[in-house]
Symmetry: D3
Subunit: 247 residues, 6 copies
């Protein structure tokens, strides 16, 4: 639960407790994929692309429906200390799998697979620079890349219907020293008692809620305070998405 | 949000909407590991063991603290259709990594690593039979195996302090046709609009909250109704743990 | 060759030299696979399942025949010291491959592949607790799971013929301090001069004979004495299988 | 050998036969690694980072010398058709290994390992967008990242000496319809009879010469014409490096 | 059991039922390893090398004893149909593991590990050409390579004692149409009802006996007839080893 | 650039600077593959086989053309110090990939894929003994194996046309203490300032030129001197190939 003085608390980077870092969404960041976006949440920078492939995985074959899947990855030098490259190591880390699956589930909520035809959309979210919130930035940027890719599909006549549903965006919230802080950079993330990632549609509905109290458990009131903060932050992210797509 | 008639609704297996499946916790299921538990949530059966190993992973070395980690796995014939064995395939699925990490985080909340000495506790949760809720059963059973293993450590004088913190248990809740249903078997799980896994301590605090709306998003009221149901269910699971440990 | 006083020799667990450990065969141990058996040779406990899959591997395609294959695995906490999980390590040990292949060959002797149709039977033998003789217990239990699975296939009309041939069971014999001992637990197995695994049909014929003298070679007389002991032990295992299948 | 009319030949992108694509070298592209450069050869864009790590690989231990190694990788959506991610596939392609080794060898020519102390420099070259010449762009950009990283090491006093040797840059040349063309984009590269990659120091010496005639062999005169063109192109790349480092 | 007319039966390659194929053992086949032998059983050709390495695996450390291990492999073009290379496929076949382990166990019977010092002998058995009996040829040749390597160790003074024990050799026997045939080439091996591999010391003791009845089970009399034939064949192989080592 | 006294310089193995090691090419080295050659450059011995397989890889399907690919590998005991076997390690080294690709590209220059039909030729180059120049020996020997395999294909009527083009051979040249030395054994290779591998057709055209100056860069004159030496050496290798094929 947020302490009374939170509203005046100033964070290390000068933000208020419920203030997002500067958000930048650059469309057309690269030109080969159908959708390509560079999303920045402060110093966190993620390249999100949406590529379209004919056909669907085996479990969707002859369903008349499409599929969407996502892969998340950190470039080795994205973090403060360089991390070994997963391909050369021959092992994908559990964390990478976990986040890839989260992004895939979140973005499937933004698309009506029955309107896609038997096509697969591959989202690739590659973190160029990591400073906390890489998964939420990835989801937020991937939606824009997805929207661009679907527009391409519609232009080409591949997709007769309207597969794009309500926009999806995500933010992290944390509890530090009892204060609810929005959009944690690495320095805050690493010492948060509780870490909550929230994915919501532009209609104000939840797609994913993932709260973790590794350094301390949390009560219902604290959860509610964090959800309130996330909700307000996500509304601003949806605005940033709209603005980027309007350009 | 739960519809008015929910209280009278009878589920396919005869349960009320907020009723757990029969829970059985068998301690000393096998004899080699320090803690060994068979946990059953209805037809879901998971063997949970806690093994103790001297030393800690590199990132904890010389910290004076211990570590706890978990691995989850399905036996190939645990599911209705046999699934390929991950070791022979040479690939661990993302789902397996995701659940292993969830169990590890959840149980680390139940142990004070600074009281463990430089020892590592390995939790192994192997699903013998799967009928929904394998990850929540695993967490609930793993706590009991952990408690037994720590008692062994204390008996042996390896651990001078008291590393065991408040008990941790977990349950799933789902939203099906607008109804909040507790502890979903596979048949319900596969068609739930929303699936929420909740991990709580016996003090009524959250450790993990993971809600996913792959087949439909969800509002705050629905989230609250699901959390209410989970909280009541987990209280009964904590009672079952206490009873098992008292035997 | 057995020394004269062997008949009065009492083993650490109180058994006579040619006495099996208590054998228990529990059918219907789990409910998803067509056949599911828990087999126990004393403290050794192996879960054996037989799952049926339509189709055959490439090398059997369009042969009109079926196939049978087996996979053996130890749960990490089955042994006294926990062993790393092969799936997470990314490497299946040579021993695991060797035993999987032995089980597959042994059970293919119990089935007429030409009567199976183009179906594959997958046997999974997962060791829950290991105390020596895991491969012979696995073979003995897998036969019962196989029989149950084939009965299911016949009930479903998938298999018009009679694929099940003579029952197959297996036991280990060892030479310790010059004495022939039947059905070695881990403590004896680890210090045996010679270790012999024998697989036989209920008609008294050999399917596999694997004798290894890593801690000492052995002569023809010793081999014969070990084969005699194995033959008598296997006859009792066939009786246990019959009894289990009659229940 | 270049045909007489080559000097007037205009390429698909409007360039003369011996003209480089626009080269851009952006230092400080990301902030975590000691050196971070975005290098662009036309539409080819490669992020090159140089990270410093204490210690050296086993084969260099106790040599008093440092080491430098490089890893090259394509982001999945860098190419026209998305390519599977090597980490998720579990297999690094031979091409990736080949180019990583080329970059490592080339840049080791730019550094005096005996002046590095027992430190390792890891170069990561990740292709964000591929349009031919990714390996030559990577080498050219990696030198600048390396120079920045060594300056950081010198500032920190980690490196007392002067490990940086003469600058290294690289370019590709091809033979298409008998014409020598400099700096091939993908469209030209894919139909070149001969493909030559040349790495040179700023002193006009060769570090690597790799000529391949998969679609046609080549004579000494053609080789000489290609080397002449490469030499002139590389001189311009060295100028671009100098300019970038002067900023 | 051998039928009465067996003694006059002539095999496809002109041999009598109990006749070995021509055996050739070439020492010093290559010069880098301490022992290097080309062994030929008819058309089967295996290169066997013994390399010595300081130190022992972890489980032997500080035991004062040495270790011996073996790796078996088929070159891709050794068989009639080329087989995929295991290194490029990223998977070692179960058969390869099984045979590697058999060779290792067999040759450990020929060496007194306590006389080796903390050194490891690596045996590599690479099949250049396969025509049945590759594992028995490998064992027979590996002994000679081992003997040469140990002589080198003794010359160098690395090994003060006498680690070499009685010679070890191996042969296959099969049952085809009720006849016991010695040393099966591929054509016979592929249609044998029973296949028996026997490893023996020059003192006439068994080291390994592996009988497999995949295409038919076998009785005690048949086993005895096969062991008799193997014993006579192995005696000739021991003579060939002696002769080779005397040269 | 070669120093004036080079012509009188005598190398450690007694050769003149521009003298090849003794070259031996043995056809029909093994009998299963369509072409099988043992090639020796002094102590370097490589077994090169050419196997033919119906069908082509996916990217060549329905092209009406064939394909040729190569795999290079070192036996573990080929080198002075035994190297771990790549298959058991689960990792193919970058060097192995790099050389495999070089051999494949070089030999594709010797074959008209459009005359092959939809068949694939697999070249396997396995180094039995390594003493420098393994890749150039492999290319030189593989051409002979390829010629034999294509003759087999033509005999069988599988290939109506004439797929074999001009012979291809390869040699290494190095710069040591300023002297150009031809065909480097390991001892020279390891201390060469510059190492150049050249692949040429019998028509005197280049197929591959790979020069590497890891221990020192090199000028155009030095490159030319090395190319001159390589050209003369390769002419002798083409003579050796012709002679072998004439036998």
């Amino acid at each position: 639960m947020t302490t009374p003085d939170s509203q005046n608390f100033v964070r290390a980077d000068g933000r208020a407790v419920d203030q997002l870092r500067p958000v930048r969404i650059t469309r057309g960041f690269t030109s080969n994929p159908a959708g390509s976006v560079l999303v920045e949440f402060g110093n966190t920078r993620v390249m999100c692309t949406a590529s379209v492939e004919e056909g669907v995985p085996r479990f969707k074959r002859d369903s008349g429906e499409g599929w969407l899947t996502a892969e998340y990855s950190m470039l080795p030098a994205a973090t403060h200390e360089r991390m070994p490259r997963e391909s050369f190591k021959g092992k994908v880390k559990g964390r990478t799998h976990e986040i890839s699956r989260l992004i895939g589930r979140s973005l499937r909520a933004a698309v009506d697979l029955s309107q896609l035809g038997e096509n697969t959309i591959n989202l690739d979210c590659d973190v160029l620079q990591a400073d906390g919130g890489t998964r939420t930035a990835a989801i937020t940027g991937a939606y824009v890349a997805l929207a661009d890719a679907i527009a391409v599909l519609q232009d080409r006549g591949v997709v007769p219907g309207a597969p794009l549903k309500a926009p999806v965006a995500a933010v992290s919230v944390g509890l530090i020293d009892g204060r609810v802080l929005l959009d944690l950079p690495y320095e805050e993330d690493s010492r948060a008692e509780v870490d909550l990632n929230v994915v919501m549609t532009a209609h104000g509905k939840f797609v994913e809620v993932q709260g973790t109290g590794e350094h301390g458990d949390f009560g219902r009131e604290e959860l509610n305070a964090m959800l309130d903060s996330a909700e307000r932050g996500i509304a601003q992210l949806h605005a940033a998405q709209r603005e980027a797509l309007a350009r």
